[in-house]
């Protein structure tokens, strides 16, 4: 009797467990399939975009009329950004696929630059035409390689989940048809050297000047420590550690770590080897309740910069983030603001200490500049501004434009409706270089019931 009951209970238990297990298995499969489908979609989409890209570059080559060339190039630009987006959805982070992505963004930049240009005034040069041609050939090769991978995926029912597993568990990519396929694509692009893009492309790249404008002699660890002490003003008993940069860095720097064991805080900063300039400084101190105003904090930030011999800076923006004040300074030369020479100072609003500082932009771009004579007057520039914008302030400034080039502009701050805009008119050509909408404060969505 007892045995009978026991057997029934156990049998029911086993059956129940089996059923539960089966359901879990089903669910897992459904989720895996779902993830796989997302990957597949991104992949096939990518290959489709590459087809399209090749087509569009091909047709733009054959175009003669300027009026149809601009839209075609804009289309190329759009497609590259979509393809780029698709790549970002594939688990390729650990596969060297950089060159292909770079290729895509280079094509996009090239297309953008030429599409926004007034091709009636400045038609494609022979060189640019040559570049377009070689881009066409290149994209054909990539398209071909990708189609091959696509074919294999479809033919052998390869799954991206396998790729992901191979990458995630082993770390190093194993032999895997898809991975190999992408490596082939990468090789194809690599053989197509960057030089073919010509000098024009260099300016489009993220400008990485590696502190080329810095003056001064190389410093050693001892001096770095001294400089850090001058900046951070550590109290007694603070441990200071200085380390050199790793070999992968583009420029030489010392990292200084100051640990205050008594107060359980620390701060750190990087100092360039050349000249010993502080790149950034950060303190981990807990900031208490606000006791000083943002305006007083601004005074502290200005005093701090003066004390450390930074000259010709203008307070450009101030903002309060809870109990921190962040101040952005830009360079000035006479009445002209030099926007690329930007520097930020973070002030704790409890006692006015400087708790953060970033001079990377400033150190990378600050140098003696010749401010050209404007060829149009401020009045003429003002006429270029949308007449609906009510101009409130005006000035002059050097900014980086869309193509990462420094241009000298008239600057207007104006109001349209409830929004404030900053508008830059090229002082040489009268072109509207940049229009910025200045952010209003954002609503907090918490507790707004």
């Amino acid at each position: 009797m007892l045995r009978g009951i026991l057997i029934t209970v156990l049998a029911l238990g086993v059956a129940g467990a089996a059923f539960w297990g089966y359901q879990e298995h089903q669910e897992k499969n459904a989720i895996l399939q779902n993830a796989e489908n997302n990957y597949q979609r991104a992949f096939h989409d990518l290959s489709f975009q590459m087809d399209l890209l090749n087509d569009k570059i091909g047709t733009s080559l054959a175009m003669n009329s300027r009026s149809s060339l601009s839209p075609a190039l804009a289309e190329v630009w759009k497609i590259t950004s979509q393809a780029h987006n698709d790549v970002g959805q594939l688990p390729l982070t650990l596969v060297p696929f950089n060159k292909t992505e770079e290729f895509l963004s280079n094509v996009g930049d090239f297309a953008y630059k030429t599409a926004v240009r007034d091709l009636d005034k400045e038609p494609l040069t022979d060189k640019e035409y040559g570049q377009l041609k070689s881009l066409y050939q290149e994209s054909a090769k990539i398209q071909n390689d990708l189609r091959q991978v696509q074919h294999m995926v479809l033919e052998n029912r390869l799954t991206w989940m396998d790729v992901e597993l191979a990458l995630a568990t082993e770390g190093a990519p194993k032999d895997n048809t898809i991975i190999d396929g992408f490596k082939t694509v990468e090789k194809t692009v690599e053989s197509y050297s960057e030089t073919e893009f010509g000098a024009g492309m260099v300016t489009m790249k993220n400008q990485d000047e590696n502190f080329q404008y810095l003056k001064g002699n190389k410093i050693d660890k001892k001096e770095a420590e001294k400089i850090a002490k001058k900046w951070a003003k550590p109290k007694d008993g603070v441990e200071i550690k200085v380390t050199e940069n790793g070999e992968g860095s583009d420029y030489g720097f010392f990292s200084v770590y100051l640990e205050d064991k008594k107060n359980k805080t620390h701060s750190s900063m990087d100092i360039t080897k050349k000249g010993g300039y502080p790149i950034w400084y950060l303190s981990s101190r807990d900031v208490k309740k606000q006791r000083i105003s943002l305006n007083d904090a601004a005074e502290k930030a200005i005093a701090f910069l003066k004390e450390n011999d930074f000259e010709d800076l203008d307070l450009f923006e101030s903002a309060q983030y809870e109990n921190m004040g962040v101040f952005t300074f830009v360079g000035t030369k006479g009445d002209v603001r030099i926007y690329p020479d930007a520097m930020r100072v973070k002030v704790a609003l409890d006692n006015g200490d400087i708790v953060g500082f970033s001079a990377e932009d400033y150190l990378k771009s600050h140098h003696e500049r010749e401010i050209p004579k404007p060829s149009i007057s401020a009045e003429e520039a003002k006429k270029k501004v949308n007449p609906n914008v009510k101009i409130m302030e005006e000035g002059q400034g050097v900014i980086l434009n869309d193509l990462s080039k420094e241009v000298f502009c008239y600057e207007f701050i104006g109001v349209l409706g409830d929004d404030t805009y900053r508008i830059y008119i090229n002082a040489d050509s009268g072109m509207e270089e940049k229009v910025e909408k200045l952010d209003n404060a954002e609503q907090i969505y918490e507790d707004v019931v």
């Binding site: 650990l94 992968g248 990087d270 009510k390 969505y445």
Partner: protein, 312 residues
Amino acid sequence: MKIKSFLKMVAILVLIITLIPCSNFEQRAEAFSNQVIRQGAVGDDVLELQSRLQYLGFYNGKIDGVFGWGTYWALRNFQYEFGLKVDGLAGQETKAKLAKASQYHEDHVKKQIKEGNKFTHYGGTNINKQGGSKAPAKNQSGAQGNNQSGGQAKEKPSAQGNQNGQSGAKGNNAAPQQNNNKPSKVTAANTPNGFSQNDIQLMANAVYGEARGEPYEGQVAVAAVILNRLESATFPNTVSGVIFEPLAFTAVADGQIWLTPNEGAKKAVLDAINGMDPTGDALYYFNPDTATSSWIWGRPQIKKIGKHIFCK
């Protein structure tokens, strides 16, 4: 005995009754704290500034406690109309003039904010009709016209330089004392250009999931890597694209990104967005104790922060 205690009660009651209006009165009389209010500031003083400017019809935006551009222009118009120095800073003189010319219904403003209502604070209209969740009153066309004409005036081209020059004189070290025990909540916050609060939250999630055991600059560094990837040609161009790129972050893969981040992570993200990059332009990082990929070891290394090695 009984009479005594009764008398005591009465005395206390009388005290309370007299004290309530008294304390109210004190609050009303003392407009603003001592601070000079500048653009970018957040808090009670800004609420009052916006309310008072709206009372006079200079400010038609939302009273949210953040000194943004709308408030800035309104203040300048006010300064122009009242013959003050037009500098966009609410210093002692400006505040005194403003307090004299306008009223501030603090209880109304604070109550509406607390209840999350849409509200206005115009003068000449019954204040009690300006609350609730209905749209802002539209009966201020005269005042608005006034506002528009004020701005036509020629103003100094460089307000900022102006501020620098004269703020030394006005520099006032007095703390902005809060007249309430706890500062009331503002309904908006400054956000760095190009990022929404939600972007910041998402990044804070990623930073917390990836580096919650790390020193502060290690957290800033992780946020900086996300931003460096945003700028890089080889990574997606959106915050979500970078964070959710498959296999990019382990915290995303194992779901730790959905832990609730602490304030530190959020501060780290703000620091990174405000230009701090402790990594020296790194695009990758890994934990040498747990990383198995030989590929990541092959990347050129820049520096080590906490447990993470940052590389190109």
